[in-house]
């Protein structure tokens, strides 16, 4: 609509200007023609009058001649005739002098001077003049008519231009705009039916084609996304199954041995051939195995219960220091020294203090267990721009890195990938449940972080816990 109006105006402005210039020129020319006509009439009248005037002057005197002029003035309406003494400016020539003098009301007067050059007649001229008001009126009428005609033609042109513009440009462009908006909102149905063979028609059919392609692409993306989600769900299911499988295998292994001892010892008692002391001893062994199984089950429950985190703003430096203090008696007993670095300043993070303490305890106990008498375990806190390992959902960013480093036996390469599996342990039976690192892994993952391991056999291991530093709010 607005586009059509603009185009019409742009087209009409020079057109109107041209019409105006042309009109002014025509008016001027017409005025010139009228002036010439009037002047010619005056000259002819004057020429007819001059010989008679001169003759009467010569024969009957000046007074009689002037009377004739006055009679002529009265005779010829609109024309004023009078005698002007003195040199009319024509010199020796008796040719007429034609002037257009400006008169009152913007209407000029045509003035013709006819010099009279005769003996015994003093120098002078017959002046004939006529107002041009009739011609001016005529011109004005003509100009007004032309202006009216032009104006109505213009109005008509504007109206027609507007209608044509609206019909051929505004309306299709408007519908294209609406269609583009619909596309923007995700409606790709090709509803434009424009069969015109111009640029707009081309644009419309191109838009329709684009809609088709977009709809196709969206369909493809939807299918792909659905396929990906299905694959992910299958993968997750498989992952769950494999975790359950590992867990079941772990439970079978961990509980199988004590159950075997319990059933064997119970069978010995039921044989009834044992002396009372032996019965008591077997019963004690059974009791011990029951306690061992209880511990395994409790560990399993702890493993399953993780996730109910109770997060609050906590100083990790304080937690690390506390954990170290709690574990100091254990390390002293083993002859292992423990040091902490980077805990001088508070490290505030949104964490479950109890769970993180458990993670640190698990890692430090492992480190102490792996370290021979006289060795050292180092706990280090530092901020780090870190990128999570491939396959982890965590985002790259600023993390608190918490290292637990030992100079112990190290972890064989084959075992390194399995250390976080539930029930994986290299410790003596009964010494560890094989759940510590698994639990730690789960807790840290719940906190949006991960645990990295580096280890070299006989040189030691380093477990690095990465926890996201809460952004200042």
């Amino acid at each position: 609509m607005r586009l059509a109006r603009k185009i019409t105006l742009l087209f009409l402005v020079p057109f109107v200007a041209l019409l105006l210039i042309f009109g002014v020129r025509t008016a001027r020319r017409e005025i010139g023609i009228y002036e010439a006509q009037v002047s010619t009439d005056l000259v002819l009248t004057g020429r007819a009058l001059r010989p008679a005037f001169a003759e009467i002057w010569r024969l009957e005197g000046e007074a009689r001649a002037l009377e004739v002029l006055a009679a002529a003035d009265k005779d010829v309406s609109e024309v004023e005739v009078r005698w002007v003494r003195g040199d009319s400016g024509g010199g020796a020539s008796d040719g007429p002098i034609v002037q257009i003098r400006p008169g009152g009301g913007g209407v000029g007067r045509a003035v013709v001077l006819l010099p009279v050059i005769e003996e015994r007649i003093p120098h002078g001229a017959i002046e004939l003049s006529r107002s041009l008001d009739r011609e001016a009126l005529l011109v004005r009428d003509v100009v007004r008519d032309k202006a009216l005609g032009t104006g109505s033609a213009l109005l008509g042109a504007i109206a027609i231009g507007g209608i044509i513009g609206t019909w051929f440009i505004g309306r299709p462009v408007r519908s294209l705009v609406l269609h583009a908006r619909r596309i923007g909102k995700g409606d790709f149905s090709p509803v434009l039916r424009d069969h015109r063979h111009d640029e707009l028609g081309e644009l419309a059919s191109d838009m329709n084609a684009m809609c088709g392609q977009l709809a196709g692409a969206r369909e493809t993306i939807r299918d792909e996304t659905e396929a990906r989600i299905r694959a992910l769900e299958q993968l997750r299911h498989a992952d769950r199954l494999s975790t359950v499988g590992k867990l079941a295998a772990g439970v079978a292994h961990e509980l199988g041995t004590p159950l075997n001892v319990v059933s064997g010892r119970a069978k010995m008692i039921t044989s009834g051939k044992l002396p009372p002391e032996a019965v008591a001893e077997n019963a004690t062994i059974i009791f011990g195995q029951a306690a061992r199984m209880t511990k395994i089950i409790r560990g399993l429950l702890d493993f399953a219960r993780q996730g109910a985190a109770n997060k609050a703003r906590t100083d990790l430096s304080a937690i690390a220091t506390n954990t170290l203090t709690l574990l100091a008696p254990l390390s002293r007993k083993r002859g292992v020294s423990m040091t902490i670095e980077g805990a001088a300043t508070p490290k505030l993070l949104e964490v479950d203090a109890g769970q993180i303490e458990q993670v640190l305890t698990n890692l430090i106990v492992n480190a102490v267990d792996a370290t021979p008498d006289g060795g050292a375990v180092l706990l280090r806190l530092a901020d780090e721009e870190a990128t999570p390992p491939a396959g982890d959902d965590a985002k790259p960013g600023l993390y608190l890195r918490l290292d637990v480093e030992d100079q112990g036996t190290g972890i064989p390469k084959d075992d390194l990938a399995r250390v976080f599996e539930p029930f994986f342990t290299t410790k003596d039976v009964g010494a560890g449940t094989g759940l510590g690192l698994s639990v730690a892994h789960g807790i840290v993952h719940d906190h949006g972080g991960w645990i990295a391991v580096e280890s070299e056999e006989r040189r030691g291991s380093r477990f690095s816990v990465y926890l996201p530093l809460s952004t200042p709010s």
Partner: protein, 152 residues
């Protein structure tokens, strides 16, 4: 069951079957030692696969020249039972081997069978089943070496 036991008891201690046992769990090892010795076997036990390989390569550490049968847990610290079994077969030892495992995985049974394990037990198992298996394994061995008389 008691019939099996009494049969072994009648044997001359010199001729009693010699069993080499590897089990990392203390209580399990003690249980097997007690039960097998009660049957009249001579039992020597080790804690893991590494120790097992050591005593096999250095006979002076054994109370007998060579074991009649080896009973091993599969999952042990250091070398696993399967690893020891593979090492034995690689060194062309034909001593019958009974494996004990908590993993009832078909794959493990397959592997064990391929390596020539006589029997595989899943924990928890009945000690009497182990007794029967030992009887069969030692009986087969005695038969193949022409000592049928010993078992009767």
């Amino acid at each position: 069951m008691s019939a099996v036991r009494s049969r072994w008891r009648r044997l001359d201690p010199e001729q009693a079957p010699r069993i080499l046992l590897a089990e990392d769990d203390d209580e399990m090892r003690r249980l097997l030692e007690v039960e097998l010795r009660a049957d009249g076997h001579v039992v020597f036990s080790v804690r893991d696969g590494t120790e097992m390989l050591e005593v096999l390569s250095d006979a002076s550490r054994l109370p007998f020249t060579a074991p009649d049968v080896i009973v091993m847990d599969v999952r042990m610290p250091g070398y696993s039972g399967l690893h020891v079994l593979a090492a034995l077969r690689a060194a062309e030892w034909t001593t019958p081997v009974i494996l004990i495992t908590a993993f009832g995985e078909p794959r493990l049974h397959e592997q064990a069978a391929k390596l020539g394990a006589s029997v595989v037990f899943n924990k928890p198992f009945d000690v009497d089943d182990l007794r029967t298996a030992l009887l069969h394994v030692i009986g087969d061995k005695a038969m193949s070496s022409g000592e049928t008389k010993r078992i009767g």
